[in-house]
């Protein structure tokens, strides 16, 4: 069985963001980069499937600049067999349709039985790329999964709905699934597996080789949202803050009687 996992490198969401010189994206400098959280669940599920089947080949693919390789190595240490970096210093400027077109071109060349992706990225959060890849390939896609199983070519899964209900769905491979938070417990790479990962194949493909689709949208500008909250910010040491919070609870709420 031939499996692909699509992963993305994103900045730590706790970062203090700045807007770049063009005014259309966040400044990429001085950020700590990590694997998109949703994609960690995708890698873990694919590795679990490989362990279940025994006979499976697992490729992880990411689109981005050189630093992307560090994150790909983490996926290799988690258990993927091969990493592919689609080298692109401008990947952050591409719309979801262009990103999907690159993955679809790669997937057509390798005939995957199953493709895993996160349900969205933490920075753009479009929730489009996975579904678009599946539609471009003409295969079914199941999105927002919180449970996944695979038996004899059939994927049975649960989709998460609003309010915590779930929809029970299934389809047959080849197919694409997108992973919601909580689908599994992503493993931490162990030191021996990190060492082993260094010897695994990590290919680099120039983005131009994968026929990127033309952009369909444009960012006019990026900005910080207007602060709607006129909230009071309290700073100081803990005992002072506890005092002040007590006063606020007495004056502004009715919970202390």
């Amino acid at each position: 069985m031939n499996i692909l996992v699509c992963i993305k490198q994103i900045p730590d969401m706790e970062s203090r963001f700045k807007i770049d010189a063009a005014g259309t994206w966040y400044d990429q400098a001085d950020l700590a980069w990590r694997m998109n959280e949703y994609d960690e669940f995708a890698v873990e599920q694919a590795v679990q499937l490989k362990e279940q089947l025994g006979d499976a080949d697992l490729t992880v693919l990411s689109i981005g600049p050189d630093r992307t390789k560090e994150m790909i190595k983490k996926a290799l240490a988690m258990g993927a067999d091969r990493g592919v970096q689609v080298a692109d210093d401008h990947s952050h400027l591409h719309d979801p349709h262009t990103i999907a077109s690159l993955i679809a071109t790669f997937a057509r060349q390798h005939q995957f039985d199953l493709i895993f992706a996160g349900m969205q990225s933490q920075d753009r959060g479009s929730a489009q790329v996975g579904v678009l890849v599946a539609e471009m390939l003409g295969i079914p896609s199941l999105t927002t999964l919180v449970e996944f199983s695979y038996t004899d070519g059939t994927i049975s899964a649960k989709r998460e709905l609003e309010g915590g209900a779930r929809a029970l769905v299934s389809c047959t491979a080849p197919a694409l699934v997108t992973c919601q938070l909580g689908l599994n417990t992503p493993r931490y790479p162990t030191l021996p597996n990190i060492m082993k990962a260094k010897k695994k194949e990590l290919l680099t493909i120039p983005v131009g080789d994968l026929n990127p689709a033309d952009p369909q949208q444009k960012t006019i500008s990026m900005a910080f949202p207007e602060k709607r909250g006129s909230g009071l910010i309290l700073e100081g040491d803990a005992s002072e803050l506890a005092e002040r919070l007590m006063r606020i609870l007495k004056e502004k709420t009715t919970v202390l009687v």
């Binding site: 969401m13 929730a127 309290l234």
Partner: protein, 307 residues
């Protein structure tokens, strides 16, 4: 401009999102037609043409069939824009329709400013003003972003859509949210723990603060996903929606999905080490502090006061 609104239906019921879709057309100064896979006994309040396919035939969840039905309506009505709720139904179906139409899609639109659509980036810490370069545009709208200013009372003009074809996904039904546990909607005080509590053991101090205030403790999604507490205590889009007199958010950064579940609280106190955390948007007070130090001190003072 003409907008096609895609209403939602689940377990035999129309979902409340259609009023927000209508509000979006008001903000866009556009005319609207609506699409629904549902049934005639349960129609949205809408003054316009409603294309209705029977959910008993099309299936409540069957994206390939719903896509085909939508494409037929789009061919007839020629809307410039197609709007979905940003929900498990909308974000699943919208890209399928967008690709078939060669239309670009903007996800989780939060606002319209001077005719431009605004979308959030990085957990709403930033936002972008967007422009489509395709003839048609697909959008999904963030829940709660287009709250109707007035209630609509109208009966739509229903146009029946025949259902043909089968999908590529087998839908077997629903599993209800885990029953039992805590009904947070009745709590007057909620003290909620987020990822920032660091480890499962620290949930106890959050629970103690809740107890001191005679309230319930709750959690954001990552805490539930890590199995530090059970799902019945989760606040947010996929958990419970609450509106207590006091909500104390401990180590919660304030993902949109969490804010949607608690922003109607009367008074919100956030305790967070990150001064710029989005929770600050809805907090009346943001205490910038290590919660492990502050919470025990605050609990002690409250207990002393109540004694």
């Amino acid at each position: 401009m003409k907008i096609l609104l895609v209403a939602e239906y689940r377990e035999g019921k129309l979902l409340g999102t259609s009023a927000e879709l209508i509000e979006f057309t008001v903000r866009m100064d556009a005319q609207a037609v609506m699409f629904l896979v549902g049934n005639k006994q349960n129609l949205p309040q809408f003054d316009g043409r409603l294309y209705l396919a029977d959910a008993a035939q099309a299936g409540e969840f069957n994206p390939a069939v719903h896509k085909q039905l939508l494409l037929e309506v789009i061919a007839r009505e020629q809307p410039q824009l197609i709007a979905f709720p940003h929900s498990s139904y909308g974000w699943d179906l919208a890209p399928r329709v967008a690709l078939a139409l060669d239309a670009t899609q903007f996800s989780e639109v939060v606002d319209v400013q001077e005719g431009h659509l605004i979308v959030p980036v990085c957990n709403a810490k930033l936002q972008r003003r967007m422009k489509a370069e395709t003839e048609k545009t697909v959008v999904t709208l963030q829940a709660g972003a287009f709250t109707p200013t007035q209630s609509i009372s109208a009966t739509p003009e229903v146009i029946d859509l025949p259902v043909t074809g089968a999908g590529d996904i087998d839908f077997q039904g629903y599993e209800a949210a885990a029953a039992g546990g805590v009904d947070l909607s009745k709590a007057k005080v909620i003290v909620s723990a987020g990822r920032g509590i660091g480890k499962a053991e620290n949930l106890e101090m959050v629970a103690n603060l809740a107890k001191a205030l005679k309230g319930e403790y709750a959690a954001s999604r990552p805490v539930v996903d890590a199995d530090w507490t059970d799902h019945s205590r989760q606040v947010g889009t996929t958990g419970q929606t609450v509106a207590p007199k006091l909500y104390i958010a401990c180590g919660i950064s304030g993902a949109i999905q969490h804010l949607a579940g608690m922003k109607k609280s009367d008074f919100v106190i956030a305790i967070n080490t990150d001064k710029d955390a989005p929770i600050g948007e809805v907090a009346d007070v943001l205490a910038v502090c290590d919660l492990k130090q502050l919470i025990p001190l605050l609990t002690e003072k409250i207990n002393a006061q109540q004694a």
